[in-house]
């Protein structure tokens, strides 16, 4: 199969608008959690979230008008605006602007979202109830459909290859990058714009995830302490929002145009727990097989892994993942660093796997493991370095990124430093 590399990245994260600003703030130990003030939260069990820093676009803030005309923004849910922004950044970063028929047809899009335009659906429901069907906007459907992130990016940049999408809850972003890599490996495209986008921070979503017992509700008064993967006081995830998009490219195609290469996508695994709608199987068997499949595809062993970006949501499931990783890596545990960047940016649901894959690529580029914040009192003992509190400089040539979603859907990506051979 053909080899696939990452040649561009773009990101809108709770730490900032842009890959580099998000990454530098992540390494500095910044934490994006805060009380939600944009809508009523007093009657909600979870009153906190990791919101994008909205602003005028300076100092890493996100100004939607910089990425989409106001009249177009009105027609779509914010996850599509985030996807457009991150895709613009990724394509500019990659220096890929297909203009010929041939280049446009060789370039596809595969962007997913976990839950898509939930808030817009709620609002349209009120309109339908209160004003009747004639008041439903013609933009209601195309502004909410999950694959319209891909559709809009495709239209803006004239990307005429595969136009696809993924919906696998919190595994979405990782599946999107993995599946898009496959399309390139199999020769269906030479370049793919891939990742995830999510804008879930609204009343119905906070209420719904809290009802599933998934959200942190005990740290409302101290939001920055709420996301604490592996810590004894963790009690659920903190919701985040944003988008992560990469430009994936066939290796020879990238080399021929002298593109900058972040890392090579060498492994991809997928599995199902077949256990429960929201809880992972208690023995971590699904997660284990997922990572194992990615290793097999990569043609490496667990001893080759340097860094793991864990799914690590700050729920009870953290220890299940950790157990599966320990089983996978065996005696290599003591040489591996594994962190959960959700401790800083919260859980971006369908965007999480893509943002975290980008962080993994940057960990390789810069030889540094980002920290797990708030890990004051680990609930488990492990030989694996969980990178508590502060980033750690260390050699990182191979990184594994895990994502696990409701429905028992698992995805693992393995990236490796590309050093010219």
């Amino acid at each position: 199969m053909r080899r696939v590399v990452i040649t561009g990245t773009g990101m809108v994260s709770p730490l900032g608008c842009g890959t580099e600003v998000s990454w530098s703030r992540l390494l500095a130990g910044q934490n994006a959690a805060r009380k939600v003030t944009e809508f009523e939260v007093e009657d909600l069990p979870a009153k906190i979230a990791c919101r994008i820093p909205f602003g005028d676009g300076s100092d890493g803030t996100f100004n939607a008008d910089d990425w989409m005309e106001p009249k177009e923004q009105r027609k779509v849910d914010p996850f599509i605006v985030y996807a457009m922004a991150a895709a613009d950044m990724a394509l500019a970063d990659a220096g890929w602007k297909p203009e010929s028929d041939e280049d446009q047809i060789a370039t596809g899009v595969l962007i997913g979202s976990g839950i898509g335009g939930l808030e817009g659906i709620v609002d349209a429901g009120y309109t339908l109830r209160d004003k009747g069907p004639r008041r439903i906007s013609p933009f209601f459907i195309p502004g909410r459909l999950i694959n319209l992130a891909s559709g809009q990016v495709s239209i803006r940049h004239r990307l005429r290859g595969p136009n696809h999408s993924v919906v696998t809850a919190c595994s979405t972003g990782a599946h999107a990058i993995g599946d898009a890599s496959r399309l390139i490996a199999l020769g269906d495209a030479d370049v793919m714009v891939a990742g995830g986008a999510e804008s879930p921070i609204c009343r119905i979503s906070l209420a719904g995830f809290a009802a599933c017992k998934a959200l942190s509700t005990q740290h409302n008064d101290n939001p920055q302490k709420a996301s604490r993967p592996y810590d004894a006081d963790r009690d659920g995830f903190v919701m985040g929002e944003g988008a992560g998009i990469v430009v994936l490219e066939e290796l020879e195609h990238a080399k021929a145009r002298g593109a900058k290469i972040y890392a090579e996508v060498i492994g991809y695994g997928l599995s199902g727990d077949a256990f429960h709608i929201t809880a992972p199987s208690e023995d971590g068997e699904g997660a284990y097989r997922c990572m194992q499949m990615a290793l097999k595809r990569a043609g490496i062993t667990a001893a080759d892994i340097d860094y793991i970006n864990a799914h690590g949501t700050s729920t009870m499931a953290d220890t299940i993942e950790l157990g599966a990783v320990e089983r996978l890596v065996g005696d290599s545990a003591s040489r591996i660093s594994m962190s959960s960047t959700k401790s800083a940016i919260g859980h971006l649901l369908g965007a999480a796997g893509a943002v975290e894959a980008i962080f993994s690529a940057l960990a390789i580029r810069d030889n540094i493991a980002p920290p797990t914040l708030n890990l004051d009192n680990p609930s488990v003992e492990t030989k694996i370095d969980l990178v508590p509190h502060a980033a750690r400089k260390r050699e990182i040539n191979v990184a594994l990124s895990n994502s696990f979603g409701f429905g028992g859907t698992n995805a693992s990506l393995i990236l490796r430093r590309y050093s010219g051979n």
Binding site: E69, P70, K71, R134, R135, S137, P138, F139, P142
Partner: protein
């Protein structure tokens, strides 16, 4: 310009994000103001909301310009 014409013009400017001077009476939503077929559906909905009139689908199909909209609304409110 009549009050109705001013209000129609304002809706068109807001929804299509076009400059005020382009929104002349003869301006076609699609040919001159960059609207697509979904934009025109939304414009008609906005006229209905603003003026409290009902614009049936077959009538909506014949509202192609700013002037068409003004004429329809003036007639409906007469």
């Amino acid at each position: 310009m009549s009050d109705i014409a001013e209000r129609v013009k304002k809706i068109v400017i807001d929804h299509l994000g076009v400059d005020a001077e382009k929104v002349s009476e003869g301006a076609s939503f699609i040919d001159d103001l960059g609207a697509d077929s979904l934009d025109t559906v939304e414009l008609v909905m906005a006229f209905e909301e603003e003026f409290g009139v009902e614009i049936p689908d077959d009538a909506a199909d014949s509202i192609l310009t700013v002037g068409d909209a003004v004429k329809f609304i003036e007639k409906a409110q007469a």
